[in-house]
């Protein structure tokens, strides 16, 4: 039972992270491989500040604020570029972040990481197990509702218009830079919140948890589930969290089992790409560009 709760908690935290990236990829049309950076900033800020005596809520907010601020600093010069060039910038930022976290030992503890992070407490009650899953699920639901409303709001319309046709949006007076910056900042803040939950849940963090592998995994969750659908990335997060665990139960011959598991994981991903390139819940392109 603890095992199931653990998987659900992890899946829920990743669902929040995937939602934050969907705001960029699905609605802003900006592909980023720096989720790990903002996830990591949230986790490290929250962990280090709480260990320094801050209340959890304050540490969380500080992490969210720092992450948002840093994302704006990174995004401001990066807003002029798009597509694969933006992707390269975010990869560089991700690499730099991992290097800093590994080498700034006096603060981050280097590769040894930060141990003994206290759990989140509510009225002297430590949030663990089912209570923590409830917190994660509620956060996820609230975020989903907020993003859903946002996509139908005037701001969301501007963001979508810029994704669809930036020059066309500019011809109607829409400020692409401002809208993209806001989306980047919001996305980074949400990722930091997920990171904070992760740190207090896991009680231990190290640079490996926030490296480019994680950023690729989150992007995979978004693309697998269906970018721009909000439901899709959450489903992607659950699937890609449960799948490696579920594959452990396959009756495989010992010795080659880990390799076969990796193979099955890869084969399933490739199958999805071929069968549903728009993602599990994504709209089929034929529906969007119908006849006439």
């Amino acid at each position: 039972m603890d095992y199931v709760i653990h998987i659900l908690t992890t899946a829920g935290i990743f669902a929040i992270l995937a939602l934050s990236l969907d705001l960029l990829v699905g609605f802003g049309g900006m592909i980023s491989l720096a989720s790990g950076v903002f996830f990591g900033i949230g986790a490290y800020s929250s962990a280090l500040l709480v260990k320094a005596g801050w209340p959890v809520a304050g540490a969380m907010l500080a992490g969210i604020g720092l992450s948002t601020l840093l994302s704006l600093v990174i995004a401001l010069p990066a807003m002029r570029i798009r597509g694969v060039y933006l992707l390269i910038v975010t990869i560089s930022v991700q690499m730099i972040f991992t290097t800093i976290m590994q080498n700034w030992r006096s603060v981050t503890g280097g590769d040894a990481g930060v141990p003994n992070i206290p759990p989140i407490t509510l009225f002297d009650l430590k949030l663990r197990g089912v209570a923590f899953v409830a917190l994660v699920a509620a956060s996820c639901a609230l975020l989903w509702w907020l993003l859903r409303r946002m996509t139908d709001s005037p701001f969301g319309r501007v963001l979508r218009a810029i994704r669809d046709d930036e020059a066309g949006a500019a011809s109607l007076g829409k400020d692409a830079t401002a809208a993209k910056l806001a989306a980047f900042g919001l996305s980074a803040g949400v990722a930091a919140y997920a990171g904070s939950l992760y740190a207090h849940y896991n009680s231990y963090i190290d640079p490996l948890s926030f490296n480019i592998g994680l950023s690729i995994l989150v992007l995979l969750m978004v693309m697998l589930g269906g970018a721009g659908t909000l439901y899709g990335p959450m489903v992607g997060a659950v699937v890609l969290t449960i799948l490696p665990e579920a594959l452990k139960f396959l009756p495989l011959p010992p010795g080659i089992a880990p390799a076969l598991r990796q193979f099955a994981y890869g084969a399933l991903l490739v199958a999805v790409v071929f069968i549903r390139p728009q993602g599990l819940l994504g709209k089929a392109p034929s529906q969007r560009h119908a006849h006439r």
Partner: protein, 255 residues
């Protein structure tokens, strides 16, 4: 304030130059356009008409020269700021927002900058105030889109997409409208309605500059024609004078 208060032209273009990789596309283009007038921009393919519209609206930056909107220098202003200042356009090739319905497209154009900021939108979401897109046709030509308002914009026909672009420009409430071959490819009854619409816009006091190849349409709409030839203003004057000028006729129709 001086006693002799001179009203600035709605749009003023001075000595605009533009080259692409060494090839002069526009050379010393200058003209003024007054509010409430309709001016046609005519010329052969490659004369620089679309480049001029792109320069005016900020899609391209001029190499030299000045563009003033009601007296204010907008030569180096970003395209979106010019649009907010009232300088609007339609595109020669119809373009629509791929994920938008017809109603959403018009709502997008109508929403003022103050409403669509991130903070403002967030507040209205938290207050559970919704902002459903509304269409609100104000010209007969827009009523053609009324049965289609729920349809994805990409599913519209060529002509319908052009009407949607026009509706967006109408909703955005500009003072100077650059219409790049808006009527090309439209059916005659629709062209009639677009013409009525443009005449109405001029009556409202908007300055209209339209690129058009159909000279019958130019005669029935414009009072003035700017004839571009090889990137220069070759003739600029009343429609009858320019279109009957033998040089213009031979350049435009002669070959």
């Amino acid at each position: 304030m001086t006693a002799m208060h001179h009203r600035e032209p709605a749009l003023s273009v001075r000595n605009i130059r533009k080259s692409f990789s060494g090839i002069r596309v526009l050379e010393n283009v200058s003209f003024d356009i007054e509010a409430g007038t309709i001016t046609a921009l005519v010329g052969s393919n490659g004369a620089g008409k679309s480049t001029l519209v792109n320069l005016l609206t900020g899609v391209l930056a001029p190499d030299d020269g000045e563009i003033r909107l009601a007296g204010a220098d907008v030569s180096h202003m970003a395209a979106f700021r010019r649009a907010r200042a009232g300088l609007l356009r339609t595109f020669q090739h119809p373009r629509v927002f791929g994920s938008f319905t017809v109603a959403e497209s018009v709502a997008l154009a109508r929403t003022p900058p103050a409403v669509e900021g991130f903070g403002t939108s967030l507040m209205s979401i938290l207050k559970r105030r919704s902002s459903p897109p509304c269409f609100g046709a104000s010209y007969p030509v827009e009523e053609r889109l009324l049965p289609l308002i729920g349809m994805p914009a990409v599913q519209l026909s060529y002509g319908e997409k052009k009407l949607l672009m026009l509706s967006q420009v109408l909703a955005a409430q500009g003072s100077v409208l650059c219409l790049d071959e808006l009527c090309a490819g439209l059916e005659p009854p629709v062209v009639d309605q677009v013409r009525t619409c443009i005449l109405g816009l001029a009556t409202e006091g908007k300055a209209v500059l339209f690129v058009e190849h159909n000279l019958a349409l130019v005669r029935s709409l414009a009072t003035r024609v700017i004839f571009l030839h090889q990137g220069r203003v070759f003739r600029d004057g009343p429609v009858d004078e320019v279109l009957t000028d033998p040089h213009v006729v031979s350049l435009y129709l002669g070959e």
